[in-house]
């Protein structure tokens, strides 16, 4: 075995492996930063969101009896508020 081959085996391969591991570790942080800002996990985000109950129709057996009554308006009530 020549000295060049020994260097390649005992230094080159471990060095290449170290670079590979470093790339794997850093790629995880690239993915995380692309997915969501760190502050959003702490509830400080305010982006647009519109979701509703999966399987939209309510279970009739769980609703009050009056719900069977007819109504012309979609809105029945609610509440309003602001915060500082």
């Amino acid at each position: 075995m020549t000295s060049g081959q020994a260097l390649l085996i005992f230094i080159g391969i471990p060095a290449a492996f170290a670079v590979f591991v470093a790339l794997l570790v850093s790629s995880a942080s690239w993915t995380r930063s692309g997915r969501a800002p760190a502050s959003s996990e702490s509830g400080e985000s305010g982006g647009r969101l519109f979701i509703q109950t999966s399987g939209a129709l309510p279970d009739p057996s769980r609703l009050p009896r009056e719900i069977g009554a007819s109504s012309t308006s979609a809105v029945g009530g609610g509440a309003h508020g602001t915060w500082s």
């Binding site: 969501a36 502050s39 959003s40 400080e44 969101l49 309510p58 609703l63 609610g78 915060w83 500082s84």
Partner: protein, 137 residues
């Protein structure tokens, strides 16, 4: 609270789970809207109309930029969930939002609304149980 930032997947799935659980508890459909409400209540009502079963649905709408909270109940849902319960949920959200917890405030509000909507059923069942007891006695 910085408007325009995206919600994380974990936050969206958390809120989705909360409204699905709310439906299980109360039988009502829930919707959550976070975004611009340029006309305030009217915008929230317009969003509520977009829900699949608007008559039996409850929408919790929040505009983080204008700091507006709106809860809209459908004309059927209001029979299970009165305006006082909605005002209570607004108060709960206000206190969380002032602490900077947008998702936590919405989650607590939906939980509260679902619990309050369930309460009449429990009261009704208790009443029926008492009536049965009186009949037996």
């Amino acid at each position: 609270m910085a408007p325009g930032r995206e919600f994380s997947r974990g936050q969206v799935s958390d809120l989705q789970r909360v409204i699905d659980l709310g439906r299980e508890i109360s039988g009502l459909s829930f919707g959550i809207f976070v975004g611009d409400l340029p006309s305030g209540r009217d915008s929230a009502v317009a969003r509520h109309a977009e829900l699949a079963d608007a008559l039996a649905a409850v929408l919790v709408a929040v505009d983080p930029a204008a700091k507006i909270i709106e809860i809209v109940t459908g004309s059927h849902a209001v029979r299970a969930l009165d305006d006082r319960s909605c005002e209570l949920a607004v108060l709960a959200m206000k206190s969380s939002f002032e602490a900077g917890d947008l998702v936590g405030g919405i989650r607590d509000a939906v939980n509260l609304l679902a619990q309050r909507a369930r309460a009449p059923h429990l009261a009704q069942n208790l009443g029926e149980t008492n009536n049965l007891g009186e009949l037996r006695g």
